[in-house]
């Protein structure tokens, strides 16, 4: 009887944790849905909200765009070189380009862009949101709507936009680099390269790629801020809330990436 009580407490704690975890996800999903409705509402792009959104997008995206592109180009060049040299040494050079495009454009670049934006943009934004909100959480409805329009929605949309733009620019740059690395500065290989691209991006792969990138962007834009907002009552320190948001975010990114891999290759 003496050991039964702690065991019961442990099970109860686990059940409570699981319930809280699921409840947290449910709150986040509801909040995300509300924000998406707000994002698709034209009134969100007028007046002060519009200016706030423009400022947030420029401040979040412009500084990181150039050097993320350079960094991804550099890393991609190394990967392209490794893939091409390995393929040539095994006599499989005609598959090199296809492998480069599949590995980099389809898989690595969107995930890297999402993680980069999450660390550079989304988590600081979440911290800002936490700072703007009153510590006691007691705000009246009008102020809450204003905060949603001018502080939260711009940051969420900015995160989504940053992921999409960084991924798009890097994909294009890497595609061009792969062509130049394999064929050199000549237009002679363009037809074959285009054909390879067309063969890789069949409708299914294109759809999965689009959905995956959108999913990554939404996760990066929404989860850190939503986590800060809805995990607050259960935590005593803000730092802990940000960490929890980061864990949620990486969990979501992992699920999206694995789902995309399963859909693509199984």
């Amino acid at each position: 009887m003496a050991t039964a009580v702690p065991a019961n407490n442990t099970i109860a704690d686990l059940a409570r944790s699981a319930r809280d975890w699921l409840a947290g996800w449910w709150h986040i999903v509801l909040f995300s849905a509300r924000l998406m409705v707000l994002a698709f509402s034209p009134s969100s792009y007028r007046g002060a909200s519009r200016a706030a959104m423009a400022r947030q997008m420029v401040d979040d995206t412009a500084p990181v765009l150039l050097w993320f592109t350079l960094l991804s180009a550099l890393v991609s060049l190394v990967i392209i070189h490794i893939v091409v040299v390995t393929s040539v040494s095994y006599g499989l050079s005609r598959y090199a380009l296809e492998m480069v495009v599949r590995v980099l454009v389809l898989e690595l670049i969107p995930l890297t862009a999402a993680m980069f934006v999450a660390l550079q943009v989304a988590l600081p934004n979440a911290a800002e949101v936490a700072a703007v909100l009153p510590q006691d959480g007691g705000v009246h409805a009008g102020r809450r709507v204003q905060l949603l329009n001018t502080e939260i929605l711009p940051r969420v949309l900015s995160g989504i936009f940053a992921v999409l733009l960084l991924a798009a620019v890097s994909c294009v740059v890497v595609a061009v680099l792969a062509y130049l690395w394999v064929h050199g500065f000549t237009a002679g290989g363009f037809a074959g390269y285009t054909r390879t691209f067309g063969r890789i991006f069949d409708p299914t792969v294109t759809l999965i790629f689009t959905l995956k990138t959108l999913g990554l962007a939404l996760a990066v834009g929404l989860l850190p801020i939503a986590s800060v907002l809805y995990d607050r009552p259960r935590v005593r320190e803000r730092k802990s809330a940000e960490l929890r948001g980061l864990v949620r975010l990486f969990f979501a990114l992992l699920v999206i990436e694995v789902a995309a891999l399963v859909a693509n290759y199984l």
Binding site: A52, V58, D59, T61, A168, T194, G198
Partner: protein, 321 residues
């Protein structure tokens, strides 16, 4: 990044920010639109194409989007794979119109699977003057599977290795033959040489040598005999000069015989003339006989007339027996 409340932004700064934001959004829109357009171009959406249906018993390894190549250049793309009601597979290939002229009525299509599992669809057009392949044409595809040959190849190789092992074994015929060759080579080096190898023992080889020596002696004697025969036949009093003289005499006799024959010919001509005269005389005799017969009949009829008119004539009677 620090929090910057929106209310604090001056209007000019806000306009500039909006412009930059619009530029960023335009860049994203441009990239997405460009990517979509490029992908559509790469997928051949803007290119008019014609359909080619390849029929096969097995479409394993064929995938949608796979290339159909001609001379190493992709000229078509598999757009769909179907299973027909009769169990054959239908591989639907979209061939751009600009490349369709490479496909002719006599073109042959092959589906080959490599050792690494890669599959290739190839077209071969031997006669480029043939009529062009029409749209929606159906052709059988020849399937060649390199991996299907591997088990047979391995079995053959194993059999070959077993045979080689058997051949090169210590108890094998080849080893025995090589041993014999070695013995023969040793004997070749011996005093009797190749003869000893051929005859197997020295006594026979010695006999052969003795036979050769006797043959040489015999040949010498035959040589002398031939010299004597030559003297007898072709010598001054030999057979040949006498034969030549006999031939000369024979020629003279023949000339005389020819003269005699000429004389006989003349006699025969005379005899022929005499025979002709005799034939004409015979003809005259026949007419003479006819005249004599006519004269005799007249005399006979005259006697009969005389007898009738004669008074003592007896009546003629006929007595029957």
């Amino acid at each position: 990044m620090s929090s910057r409340p929106t209310e604090e932004l001056p209007p000019a700064h806000s306009t500039s920010l909006e412009l930059r934001a619009v530029l960023l959004v335009a860049l994203l829109g441009l990239l997405i639109a460009g990517s979509i357009a490029y992908l559509m171009y790469a997928r051949g959406v803007f290119e008019p194409s014609q359909r080619l249906v390849l029929l096969s018993d097995d479409a394993e390894g064929v995938a949608v989007g796979m290339d159909l190549t001609f001379a190493g250049f992709p000229i078509g793309r598999v757009s769909r794979i179907e299973l027909a009601a009769d169990g054959t597979t239908r591989i639907l290939v979209d061939v751009p119109r600009k490349d369709a002229h490479w496909l002719r009525e006599s073109s042959v299509f092959t589906l080959t699977r490599g050792l690494l599992g890669n599959t290739n669809l190839r077209a071969f057009s031997g006669v480029l003057d043939d009529p062009q392949l029409p749209a929606d044409a159906e052709r059988r595809v020849l399937v060649g599977d390199a991996t299907a040959e591997i088990p047979r190849l391995v079995a053959d190789a194993r059999e070959l290795v077993a045979n080689l092992t058997k051949l090169t074994g210590e108890q094998s015929a080849l080893a025995a033959a090589l041993g014999n060759v070695q013995v023969a080579t040793e004997r070749l080096k011996g005093p009797r040489g190749a003869l000893g190898v051929l005859l197997g023992n020295d006594a026979d080889a010695q006999k052969l040598v003795a036979a050769l020596e006797r043959t040489n002696t015999l040949l010498a004697r035959i040589d002398g005999l031939a010299a004597k025969a030559d003297q007898q036949v072709f010598g001054a009093d030999g057979l040949m000069p006498e034969a030549r003289a006999a031939v000369v005499q024979l020629n003279a006799a023949l000339l005389e015989a020819r003269e005699s024959l000429k004389k006989i010919d003349a006699i025969l001509v005379d005899a022929q003339a005499i025979a002709g005269n005799a034939r004409s005389a015979t003809d005259d005799l026949a007419s003479l006989r006819a005249e004599v017969d006519a004269s005799l009949r007249k005399v006979s009829s005259m006697i009969d007339e005389v007898n009738r008119r004669w008074p003592f004539a007896k009546p003629s009677e006929i007595k029957l027996p």
